[in-house]
Symmetry: C2
């Protein structure tokens, strides 16, 4: 039996205000819950009996069994997968020194939760440990973002900083960004470490951040200069940029 | 004034059955409508007076002016952009000969409309003219797919065929697909023409299609073999594969 106050808590966590107030977030579905439980403290696990039996190794401060019908009433998903978990958020510390021997991603106001989640999944795929969000990016712990990460949040640290004051502290590192007037990424030397800045869906990298980018790249379309879609989706562009950095050292 | 029967028609086109019956589809927003009007016949354009005045060169069989409020009542979008258009669908013909000197994409049951739309946008970016969908793929003309293409449908032809009978007719062409046991795409010779098969979101390329793939590729993660997300989103993987083909000849 799930108390009314717990139902209210779970539902409230779809809003950022309550995620921030409680420092908690919700994840649904087996893969997500299993992956996240390796890295985040699970304070409440609500699952069907079948799910609990087949995932008995998952630890949670409190576990409650519900029927499939009861679960679907508190689920955010069209097809609930037998488990909803409430986890404690992480507040990762971020030091410039940590970034020095690594490739990292910085996001300048990426606003779509699905794009942010997909970018975190891409970071995970390419072994990138830190995603540094500007303060106006979508919230990592929102349900759509968490869902789109497919569990990558267990391996990628997401930070929120004022990029305009943070990036100048990283001046020992190359800072990359893509622009229409950049140099083709396929022809340019790329360092195995540094920060890749990706911009907002509609406006790209803002002027204040552009001036902090030391290496201006271009992602060319094919055939170069042919009429085409004006731009790539920001998650797709992130994948192409990260892929080019990594393929050189694979 | 928009008649009740036209409102009913526009709303009905959110369902595939009615899109098929009428051979029509709906697009919303300036960029989409302007791009698509270069390639598709516009049978009905519903727009605010401001929009009509500033886009007077767009031709439609019938044009109706509505207020912003009236438009928002028939819109599928959270923030309507002043225009909704009804276009005639295309039924492109597909001949194996047309594919011989080109790179094309085939999709084996890609089911998410957003993924399909993003893949059509990626095809456009990389100068790929034909996307060949299996019969169980999402519908190209559904509202979410059309929206995600960002107008790329004006430059990319999407076909629906039974891949299991179509691909054997393409045996003169290399047929590429990504698999866990393939050869690293970064180390393999790639032809400038051929068909790239991408698989379903959950299951990848089906067994019946796998046996028709002549060149088995692997998209390696980084560091190769490190624990990571199990997979990439199919649109992201499509971008990485197409990008690798194109970067070799850019």
């Amino acid at each position: 039996m799930l108390s009314k106050s717990k139902i209210k808590l779970i539902k409230s966590l779809s809003l950022k205000k309550f995620r921030d107030d409680h420092s908690l977030f919700v994840a649904e579905g087996t893969k997500l819950v299993v992956d996240l439980s390796t890295c985040f403290k699970c304070v409440l696990l609500v699952a069907t009996k079948d799910w609990s039996v087949s995932h008995s190794s998952i630890h949670a401060d409190e576990m409650i069994e519900l029927s499939t019908d009861e679960l679907s009433q508190i689920s955010n998903q069209k097809s609930p997968q037998g488990v909803i978990a409430v986890f404690e958020k992480h507040n990762w510390s971020l030091s410039v020194d940590d970034l020095k021997s690594r490739l990292s991603i910085a996001l300048d106001d990426v606003q779509d939760p699905g794009n942010l989640g997909t970018i975190i999944r891409i970071a995970d795929w390419f072994g990138i440990k830190d995603v540094i969000c500007s303060l106006h990016c979508a919230d990592t712990y929102g349900p759509k973002t968490v869902q789109a990460t497919m569990g990558a949040l267990a391996r990628v640290r997401v930070h929120y900083v004022d990029l305009a004051t943070f990036l100048p502290d990283c001046k020992e590192l190359p800072i990359y960004g893509t622009f229409m007037d950049g140099e083709s990424i396929y022809e340019k030397g790329l360092s195995p470490y540094g920060i890749i800045v990706m911009g907002n869906e509609g406006n790209g990298i803002s002027d204040s951040i552009r001036s902090l980018v030391s290496e201006k790249l271009l992602l060319p379309n094919y055939p170069f200069g042919a009429p085409t879609s004006e731009s790539l989706n920001v998650a797709v562009a992130t994948a192409l940029v990260c892929g080019e950095f990594r393929r050189r050292v694979l």
